[in-house]
Symmetry: C2
Subunit: 191 residues, 2 copies
């Protein structure tokens, strides 16, 4: 996952817009005429700058009874384990983004399955979406954002060294659904 | 739904950032050192400006065998019918945003149900998420973005006057699932 304007506590940093993206003049925060929230409005050309939550997309790559995790080589949470995931880019669907991130972070060849979790991280201004995925083989080629990529059985998962709450929740749902023998979409929020 | 930087064909407008949001200096589009895509980078302070798809959240408000639609009073697609929906804001979850938009656009009191559709609109740089919802009553108070709010049975739906493809797909899935007697999450893309 690439850097975003979050502060040291992982909260979205409000009011980071100081200048207009169109003309470079200073902005002022006020409520536009047809709106009910403060926005950064250009004091010169009037351009309104909206800020919205962004999407993180990733996969649960499965090989037999094992799941692929990546040890993060970048901050935040360097050295902790994550499912392959990153920010959704313009020009791609959530499924395409999840596939791309799995390639970039783990160098893993997968067939994408169904959407599996949709988890809000409100304080970070993010929505995390994970897809089920089937690994084609066990040869991985981690990118620069990953120290190592490794397969884990359920009892081997390093629960105390998982980088993000959404990854922990997604893994828990995965093992629960696997025990039930049926997978469904899980939507919710994390603190 | 509020205005976004889309051009007249509803496509996301790239390269709209001309100046740095932090210092106001001109930006140049190039690939940052640890990245693989062009970003708007400040030629003075080095700030990197990411642009990502944004989320639209809404509901399928149900009363007995009827669904609530809103006739749009704003562009784009003024005069056409939509499910209540709008852009997700910072500080709220997708469920909270869907509830808020249903209040703002239709003045409808609802109990939110399960997440129902997750639909990519790649060319617009958007992800649309709709929740099932149960109406408490049939007294509506449409906001300024809505001409009128009206309940429709399946055979009454004005299919040729639906504002957005994601709304049409969501309504089709709703009536199909209702016939089957079981609702599940539908994820996919629209053209």
């Amino acid at each position: 996952m690439m850097p975003r304007p979050l502060n040291s506590r992982g909260m979205f940093e409000p009011r980071r817009i100081k200048h207009c993206r169109v003309c470079g003049s200073p902005v002022a925060y006020r409520v536009p005429a047809d709106d009910n929230r403060e926005r950064a409005i250009c004091t010169s050309c009037g351009e309104i700058h909206y800020e919205n939550p962004i999407n993180v997309v990733g996969t649960v790559p499965v090989w037999e009874d094992q799941v692929l995790l990546c040890k993060r080589n970048i901050e935040p949470r360097r050295g902790l384990w994550t499912l392959p995931a990153g920010f959704l880019e313009l020009g791609e669907s959530t499924a395409e983004g999840a596939l791309r991130e799995t390639d970039e972070e783990a160098g893993a060849r997968i067939t994408l399955g169904e959407l599996f979790t949709v988890l809000n991280v409100v304080r970070a201004g993010q929505l995390h979406l994970f897809y089920l995925a089937r690994l084609h083989d066990t040869r991985f080629a981690p990118g620069p954002e990953t120290m190592e990529a490794q397969l884990f059985r359920e009892h081997e998962i390093p629960w105390d060294e998982i980088a993000f709450r959404t990854v922990r929740d997604t893994l828990r749902h995965f093992f629960e659904d696997r025990r039930k023998g049926s997978f469904s979409v899980h939507a919710g929020d994390v603190a």
